[in-house]
Amino acid sequence: MSFSERPTVQPWRKANLKRRFEILLAVAIPLPLTMLFALLSNFDVNLALIAVFLPLQLIAAGLVGVRAYGKRGIGDAALVVITIFFSTFVLVLLLSVLFSVIVEGGRAISWQFFSQNNVYVSPTTSLEYGGVGHAILGTLMVVGLTTLAAVPLGIAMAVYLTQSQSKTRNLVRTFTQALSGLPSVVSGLFILTIIEATQMGRSGFTGALALFPLMLPTVARVAEEALRLVPVDLRYAALALGAPNYRAFFQVILPAAKSGLMTALLLGLARVVGETAPLILTMNPSSATSLNPFDGGMTTLPIYIYNYLASSYQTSQARAWGAALVLLMLVGFLFGLARILSKSKTTKKKASK
């Protein structure tokens, strides 16, 4: 028999028609059955999903598994069912949070919601007036100030932890790890005492100070992991070519760790961009737009949300939801921007030469 005449063997495609029908039954039957049961017996639907549907689905999948592979099919089927069930569970949780923010926040969102501030807004003002423009700017400035200080310092710490052979490294690493567990409100209290002691006014800057101890350890730890992943071979290769340490670092190690360092930046941002407690303690919320983070009142989106959500007026709560949606969009925008920036450089290099 020549090669071309041989039937194609694809043992990894096990599902023939009959088996597919069985799988279809196992997928289709348990859910309606559970719903029917819940309806008839007045059982709580959510409870029924776990107490009735999951075991039922496990049995159904197990039966198909046994018929297809014998005993070992049971384990496979159970793993598949449990994986899908709990992934769906988590996905539903996440999506419902996103969904409620989009639906509730969508009511308040309009163009002027992004551009206007809240100076002339009272709880009874209609949603057509006022917005979170000042809070967006405030968030960008406060978080931006923190990032400006925390990212270079955090990466410098990571360099110290990975590149030097100093004996105090372990001490520094331990403190960094301890610091990353610092409750954010404690950081706020710390800066608050400094404000009280030095009589300096609350401003965007003091807010940025309170965020700094939160962002620094996150950046340092993730950046350390990123730098540790760069093979030591590359460093040796650079040094063997006659590179001084700093050139080996900037021209070889840093570029190789770039995407990891970008992750460090993003995780650092994620840690502080939604912080509320330390900012409430250290900033002076204001409804007006301020471009000076070093003097006077300033508001960030989380403070805005906190202040308006506590109100009993419906329009105020709608504004808070709107601000939550804006915050989500802002974070998404920053993350997307960072990814694009870190990618385009390497691809550009490839294409241009």
Partner: protein, 261 residues
């Protein structure tokens, strides 16, 4: 690169090496005359790789490394107080066991990386890239894809790229630490041919576990051995012909004939 610099003579005198408290080499004396290829052979763990790293001051990068003795490059001790490790490494190039091209750079940038990393000016970049790649006999394979990422090459090609990267620095001595151990026979043969051609312009020291390779490429051979729990050292050193065909020491005879190691 119009005029290639001449090869240098390298000689190690009484080199002893420690890692922390543990001594791994005891008083190694070897001379590598200009334009000669020297093979370092011996079982694993006998200190060959450690020794070769003392020749371009890569040894001191390992935490806890200690050293006694001197290495003379054209009569000057590279461990002299006033000598900078960087200038030594520019003159004494190194090729590692595992190919390690810079993954973030293109093939061309890898070749030029040595000059950039050591802070020197690049003149005639195109010419330097071509000459270096030709000398490492990889030019024909990569000439149409100089701007591709270096990691897109096969293992054998990556290793020859690393050789070319060292050659772009125009070293006087080239150290090779088991350069073919991760490569297929075809790539190995190519690199061996390259070594032969390179020895016209530089001194070469190569660590190898392959007896045939040592016989094919080297002019002289040093046999390293470390007995249990004692520091390694040179058992026998002489012309390759003599070490393989008429070794004086019984242990050398056993090793080169495959009785142990």
């Amino acid at each position: 690169m119009n005029s290639l610099s001449t090869a240098s003579t390298l000689s190690a005198e009484d080199i002893s090496v420690w890692f922390g408290e543990r001594q791994v080499l005891e008083k190694v004396n070897l001379t590598f005359p200009a334009n000669q290829v020297t093979a370092l052979i011996g079982p694993s763990g006998c200190g060959k790789s450690t020794f070769i790293r003392t020749l371009n001051r890569m040894h001191e990068l390992i935490p806890g490394a200690g050293l006694a003795g001197a290495v003379y490059l054209d009569g000057e001790d590279i461990y002299n107080e006033s000598t900078d490790a960087v200038t030594v490494r520019i003159k004494v190039g190194m090729v590692f066991q595992k190919p390690n091209p810079f993954p973030t750079m293109t093939i061309k940038d890898n070749i030029l990386s040595g000059l950039r990393l050591s802070g020197r000016k690049i003149e005639n970049a195109e010419e330097l890239v071509e000459t270096s790649l030709r000398r490492a006999s990889i030019w024909n394979e990569v000439k149409d894809r100089l701007n591709d990422q270096a990691i897109s090459l096969s293992g054998g090609q990556q290793q020859r790229l690393c050789i070319a990267r060292s050659l772009a620095m125009d070293p006087k001595v080239l150290l090779m630490d088991e350069p073919c151990s991760a490569l297929d026979p075809g790539s190995t043969r190519r690199i061996e041919e390259t070594i032969q051609e390179l020895s016209e312009t530089m001194t070469i020291v190569i660590v190898t576990h392959n007896m045939q390779q040592a016989q094919r490429v080297s002019d002289q051979t040093a046999f390293f051995l470390a007995d249990d729990n004692t520091p390694g050292g040179v058992v026998e050193f002489g012309s390759t012909e003599q070490v393989f065909n008429g070794p004086i020491d019984q242990r050398t005879n056993d090793y080169v004939n495959g009785h142990f190691g």
